[in-house]
C-alpha cells in the first residue's frame, strides 16, 4: 500500500468516526425528548416524504427554491461519483473506468452536467447572500452572510472544481478519454495541453487531495452545523404531523407534574428533530404577521433557540443535571422571550410555508402552557379573560342568561333532542358582540329561508374555549371541552353549524381529542351546500351594485387550518353574481387580522398593529366592501378602518352578503 493510500485510509476512518460520533451525539439529544407516536400510517408518510423532501414541493413554492432543488438533487446524484472517489481512494482498482464504455460515457456525461449545474447553483446562492439577500435571511443570531452558509457553499463549489480539475488533468495525461461525454473536463484539458507530465501529475494529485480533504471535512462538519438538515430534514418530512390540524395533545392533570414546556427536554423528540431540520431559510419569518409588524416574535428564532438550548444544555442533561440555560427567558440566544411567545396569533402561516414541515406554532403553545399553568405568568390583560371564561364561559364576563338575546327579534327555537337536525352553535362573539349579533341574525334568516331544521342551546351554550387553548390555559380549556362534549352528547347533537372559524376549528379538531365526532360545518360551507342542493334561492338583482367593489379576506382558522378557501368565494359569487376581488396575499398566503391565538384579548403595544397592516393591504384594490367570514376578522377590520379614517369601506360577513341576496 502506498503511503498516500495509507494516509487517505486513516483520514477516511477518522472522518467516518467524526461523522458518526457527531451524528450519534445529536441523536442522543433527540432521545432526551418526550415520547410521541409518529410511526403510524407508514405508506402515507412515505408518500409525503417523497413529495416534500425528494420532490421539494414547498422549497420550490418560491422561485429561488429551484436553486436549492438543483443543489439537493445534484447532491443525491453526486453521491455516486463521490462514493466511487472514496472507494478508489481505498481500493484503487475499484473505479468507474472499468465499466463498459456504453455505461461509462452516459454516466460521465451525467456527472459532468450535474456538477456544472451544482457549481452554477452554489455561485448563484453565494451571490444572492452577498448582493441581494432578502430581509428574511437575517435574524438576530443568524445572518444571511453567516460563515456557516459560505462554508458549505464553498465546500460544494471546491468539490466541483476539484472534480473537473482532476478529470481534465487525467484527460491531458491520456489516462481518461476526451469526448462529448465529458465536455467540461475536455474543454479544461485543452488549457493544460502544453504542461509537462510531472506538472499534470501534480495537478491530478493536488486536485485529488483537495477533493479528498474537502469531502472528508464535509462529513465531519455536517452534524456539527445547521447543515445537519441534510440528515434530519428527510426523516422530518416522514415524521410530519398527519392529523388534520397541528394541535398539541391533551395534558393529564396529575399533582406533582409540571405542565407545558418550560425545559427543553419537555419537548417531544419530534419537536427536537424540527430543530435539527431547520436550515434557517427564513421563510416562516417572512410569513409571520408578528415578525412582519416588528414584534419580538420570529418563528424561526423559536426553533433556533430550542436547538441552541438543547445543544448547550445537552451535556448537563445527559448526566441527569439541571439545565444551565433557561428555555424561556431573556438570556439571549437559546432562550425564547416571553413577549415573543405572547405575540403569536397562531395563524399557522409559518407552518404553511416551511419546506421541511417544521411545526413552530405548537411549540409556542406548549411554552405558553408552561407560563400559564406552572407559573401563572401572562400579560395582565389576560387575567380578566381567564376569570370570565372560567366563571361565565365567555370572554367578556357577560351573564350567560344573556346568550340568547341576539335573537329576541326572531322566533328562534331551542335545539330539541331527536327533533332538531342542526345545532347552530352561535359562539360568544355571535351572541354577545354588538356587531356580530347582526351576523347571527343574518345567518338565522338564511337558515330559515332555506327551511333548515335548526335550533340553539341558548343560555346553556358555553364557550368552545379556543382562546383558552391557544393561550396555553389548558386546565380551564379542558374543563370547558369536557362540559361541551358532555352537553352535546346528552342533547344528541350530531350536526353543528358555526359562524366562527374558531368555534369551527375547536369543535372539529380540538374536540377530537375528547372523542367527539360530529359533523361540524362553517356557515360558508353550509350555505354553499344549501345553494348546491337548491334549497336556498337567491335574488341577484342590484346586489352587485350594493356591494360595490369588493375584496375577500381569508380567515386563518377557516383557510390555513382547515383548507376552506372555496366555500366563501362560491357563496359570495352566488349571492352577488360576481367573484370577490382578491388581496395580494390570499388563501394559503393570507395575512392574519391579528386576533387569533388569544391576541383578540391582548394589547398590541410594539410595532405596527397587525390589523392595520392587513387593512392597508385590503385597501390597495380600492374596495367598497371587505368580505370576511370570521367574527374576529370582522372586528379587526372595522377597528382598523376606523383607525385610518377609511370607515366608509364596509365590512360584511359572508352570511350578511347572502342575507342581503335573499330579497325581502
Amino acid at each position: 500500500m502506498t503511503s498516500a493510500r495509507l494516509l487517505f485510509t486513516a483520514l477516511f476512518a477518522a472522518s467516518i468516526i467524526g461523522f458518526l460520533a457527531g451524528s450519534y451525539r445529536r441523536f442522543r439529544l433527540l432521545l432526551l425528548g418526550k415520547k410521541e407516536n409518529r410511526f403510524d400510517r407508514p405508506l402515507e408518510r412515505l408518500r409525503d416524504m417523497l413529495v416534500y423532501a425528494f420532490g421539494q414541493k414547498r422549497v420550490m413554492a418560491k422561485p429561488f427554491g429551484v436553486n436549492h432543488t438543483i443543489i439537493f438533487w445534484s447532491f443525491l446524484v453526486l453521491l455516486l461519483p463521490n462514493g466511487e472517489f472514496i472507494l478508489q481512494g481505498l481500493f484503487p482498482a475499484l473505479t468507474f473506468q472499468r465499466l463498459p464504455i456504453a455505461v461509462l460515457q452516459p454516466l460521465t456525461l451525467a456527472f459532468e452536467a450535474v456538477s456544472l449545474l451544482a457549481l452554477a447553483a452554489v455561485v448563484i446562492a453565494a451571490a444572492r447572500r452577498l448582493f441581494f439577500a432578502p430581509a428574511y435571511l437575517n435574524a438576530s443570531y443568524v445572518k444571511a452572510r453567516s460563515v456557516d452558509a459560505f462554508l458549505i457553499l464553498g465546500f460544494i463549489g471546491i468539490l466541483m472544481m476539484a472534480y473537473f480539475g482532476m478529470h481534465a488533468a487525467s484527460i491531458a495525461q491520456g489516462k481518461e478519454a476526451a469526448g462529448w461525454f465529458a465536455p467540461v473536463s475536455t474543454l479544461l484539458s485543452r488549457a493544460l495541453a502544453g504542461s509537462s507530465s510531472e506538472g499534470l501529475e501534480t495537478v491530478v494529485a493536488v486536485c485529488w487531495w483537495i477533493h479528498a480533504l474537502v469531502l472528508l471535512a464535509f462529513m465531519i462538519y455536517i452534524p456539527l452545523s445547521k447543515h445537519m438538515h441534510i440528515l434530519a430534514a428527510i426523516p422530518n418530512c416522514y415524521f410530519k404531523n398527519m392529523e388534520p390540524a397541528s394541535i398539541p395533545p391533551r395534558e393529564e392533570f396529575v399533582a406533582g407534574r409540571e405542565f407545558g414546556v418550560g425545559r427543553v427536554v419537555q419537548f417531544t423528540w419530534k419537536d427536537l428533530l424540527d430543530g435539527f431540520s431547520c436550515t434557517e431559510c427564513g421563510r416562516c419569518q417572512a410569513a409571520c404577521p408578528a415578525a412582519a409588524t416588528g414584534k419580538s416574535l420570529n418563528p424561526r428564532q423559536i426553533v433556533h433557540d430550542m436547538k441552541v438550548n438543547l445543544l448547550k444544555n445537552g451535556p448537563f442533561l445527559h448526566n441527569g443535571g439541571a439545565p444551565v440555560l433557561p428555555l424561556i427567558g431573556d438570556q439571549g440566544e437559546g432562550s425564547s422571550r416571553e413577549d415573543a411567545l405572547w405575540a403569536c396569533t397562531t395563524c399557522g402561516a409559518c407552518m404553511e410555508v416551511c419546506p421541511v414541515l417544521i411545526e413552530q406554532m405548537p411549540k409556542i403553545v406548549k411554552m405558553r402552557r408552561n407560563l400559564v399553568e406552572t407559573h401563572a405568568r401572562f400579560p395582565e390583560e389576560l387575567l380578566n379573560l381567564f376569570e370570565n371564561m372560567e366563571q361565565r364561559s365567555n370572554p367578556w364576563g357577560i351573564a350567560p342568561t344573556e346568550r340568547a338575546k341576539w335573537c329576541s327579534s326572531l322566533a328562534v327555537k331551542p335545539f330539541v333532542k331527536g327533533e332538531t337536525e342542526y345545532l347552530f352553535f352561535v359562539g360568544c362573539a355571535g351572541a354577545f358582540d354588538a356587531r356580530n349579533k347582526g351576523v347571527s341574525v343574518a345567518l338565522a334568516t338564511v337558515l330559515n329561508a332555506a327551511g333548515v331544521s335548526w335550533g340553539i342551546l341558548g343560555k346553556d351554550e358555553k364557550c368552545c374555549g379556543d382562546s383558552l387553548r391557544r393561550l396555553g390555559n389548558e386546565y380551564v380549556f379542558d374543563k370547558a371541552a369536557k362540559e361541551n362534549v358532555a352537553q352535546f352528547n346528552e342533547k344528541g347533537v350530531t350536526k353543528v353549524i358555526t359562524q366562527c372559524p374558531h368555534c369551527y376549528h375547536t369543535l372539529k379538531n380540538d374536540y377530537r381529542q375528547y372523542g367527539a365526532n360530529w359533523e361540524i360545518l362553517h356557515h360558508s360551507e353550509f350555505i354553499a351546500r344549501l345553494l348546491k342542493e337548491g334549497k336556498l334561492k337567491l335574488k341577484l338583482k342590484h346586489k352587485v351594485s350594493e356591494m360595490g367593489r369588493s375584496v375577500i379576506h381569508d380567515s386563518c382558522y377557516l383557510g390555513r387550518h382547515n383548507g376552506l378557501y372555496e366555500a366563501p368565494r362560491e357563496v359570495f359569487s352566488a349571492a352577488t353574481g360576481a367573484m370577490p376581488g382578491e388581496m395580494a396575499r390570499q388563501k394559503e398566503d393570507s395575512f392574519c387580522c391579528g386576533a387569533g391565538g388569544g391576541r383578540m384579548w391582548m394589547e398590541e403595544c410594539s410595532g405596527e398593529r397587525i390589523n392595520l397592516a392587513r387593512v392597508k393591504e385590503s385597501l390597495e384594490g380600492k374596495p367598497d366592501t371587505i368580505c370576511v367570514s370570521c367574527p374576529y376578522c370582522l372586528t379587526m377590520f372595522e377597528d382598523g378602518l376606523k383607525d385610518i379614517g377609511a370607515d366608509r369601506v364596509r365590512v360584511k360577513d359572508i352570511a350578511e352578503v347572502v342575507a342581503a341576496g335573499l330579497g325581502s
Binding site: 399533582a255 400559564v372 406552572t374 407559573h375 401563572a376 395582565e380 366563571q391 361565565r392 351573564a399 386546565y475
Partner: protein, 270 residues
C-alpha cells in the same frame, strides 16, 4: 404571625334576579363566585405573608358547599382554610355573622400571634360593609377600612401604616397592631392560581368548625342573633334618561346644558 383573610361566597350578582313574591334573591341556578373584594383581601394577605413570613388562614362562614370557595383560596396559596358551617349559623345578619367570625378568629389566635385580619370592603350581595368593622369592634382590633395600600408593617414596634381611599382624597393612617383591614379593589391585582396549586387544593383539607367547636350562645348567632329584618327588597325603578342638546354639532352648548342641570339638581359641588 397570623393573618386571617375573611372571604365569602356570593351569587354572581350580574346574574341575580329578585323574586318579586318572596322578596329574596333567586339563588337557584345562579353561579357562585368568591366575593370580588375578598379576592383582593386574599391577595393582600398572601403578599404580606410572602414579604414578612407567617401564615395566612382563610375563613368563611357559609353552607357546606362554600368548601369550593375555600379551595379556591387554597389554590391561591393560603396555608389553611376553615369553613364555619352549622345550621345554627344560618340566616345571620351582619351582627350575628361578625359574632361567629370573631369567635373563629379568636380561636385561631390561641395558637399563633394574630397580626392582621383582612376583609373585602363589602360583599356584592349584601353591600353593607358592616361585617369587617363588626369583627374589629368585637375583638378590639384597630379598625382600618377602605385600605388601598399597606405602606408599612413594623412587626417589632407592632405598628402598621396604611393609606385609606376616601371620597376625593386619601388618608394615611398609622395604628397599632393587631388590626383589621377592609380593602378596596385598587389595592392589588389578585394572582391567578397555578395548576399545581389547583391540584393540591383539591386534596387539601378544609377544616369545618360547627358550633360545637365554637360553642357560642345560640341567641347571639344565626337567625336568633340577628336583629335585622328585611321588610321589602326591590330593584329601584330607573327614571327615563334625557338627551341634552346636540353634543355632536354643538359640544359647548350641550356641556353648558349639562352643567346647568347638574347645578340645578345640586349634584355639582361649587
Amino acid at each position: 404571625m397570623l393573618i386571617v383573610a375573611c372571604i365569602k361566597q356570593v351569587p354572581d350578582t350580574t346574574q341575580v334576579k329578585i323574586d318579586p313574591v318572596t322578596n329574596t334573591l333567586v339563588r337557584q341556578g345562579i353561579p357562585i363566585i368568591v366575593n370580588p373584594y375578598d379576592t383582593n383581601a386574599l391577595e393582600e394577605s398572601l403578599r404580606l405573608r410572602d414579604r414578612f413570613g407567617g401564615r395566612v388562614v382563610a375563613v368563611s362562614m357559609g353552607p357546606p358547599n362554600a368548601d369550593v370557595t375555600l379551595r379556591k383560596a387554597l389554590a391561591l396559596g393560603v396555608n389553611e382554610a376553615v369553613l364555619l358551617s352549622d345550621r345554627a349559623f344560618g340566616g345571620a345578619d351582619t351582627l350575628a355573622t361578625s359574632c361567629v367570625l370573631s369567635a373563629a378568629i379568636a380561636k385561631l389566635a390561641e395558637e399563633d400571634e394574630l397580626t392582621l385580619v383582612v376583609c373585602g370592603k363589602q360583599t356584592i350581595d349584601g353591600d353593607t360593609a358592616q361585617v369587617g368593622p363588626g369583627i374589629a369592634t368585637r375583638m378590639g382590633l384597630t379598625q382600618l377600612t377602605l385600605v388601598d395600600s399597606v405602606e408599612n408593617l413594623d412587626l417589632k414596634a407592632r405598628r402598621i401604616r396604611v393609606r385609606r381611599k376616601l371620597e376625593g382624597r386619601h388618608e394615611i393612617v398609622e395604628a397599632p397592631l393587631p388590626a383589621l383591614l377592609t380593602v378596596v379593589r385598587e389595592i392589588n391585582r389578585p394572582r391567578y392560581p397555578t395548576v399545581p396549586h389547583r391540584l393540591d387544593s383539591l386534596k387539601a383539607e378544609v377544616k369545618v368548625w360547627d358550633n360545637k367547636v365554637l360553642n357560642l350562645d345560640v341567641n347571639t348567632i344565626g337567625l336568633k342573633g340577628s336583629p335585622t329584618c328585611v321588610r321589602r327588597i326591590f330593584s329601584p325603578e330607573r327614571e327615563k334618561g334625557e338627551i341634552l342638546g346636540d353634543a355632536l354639532r354643538d359640544p359647548a352648548g350641550a356641556t353648558g346644558l349639562l352643567v346647568e342641570k347638574l347645578v340645578q339638581k345640586d349634584l355639582l359641588p361649587l
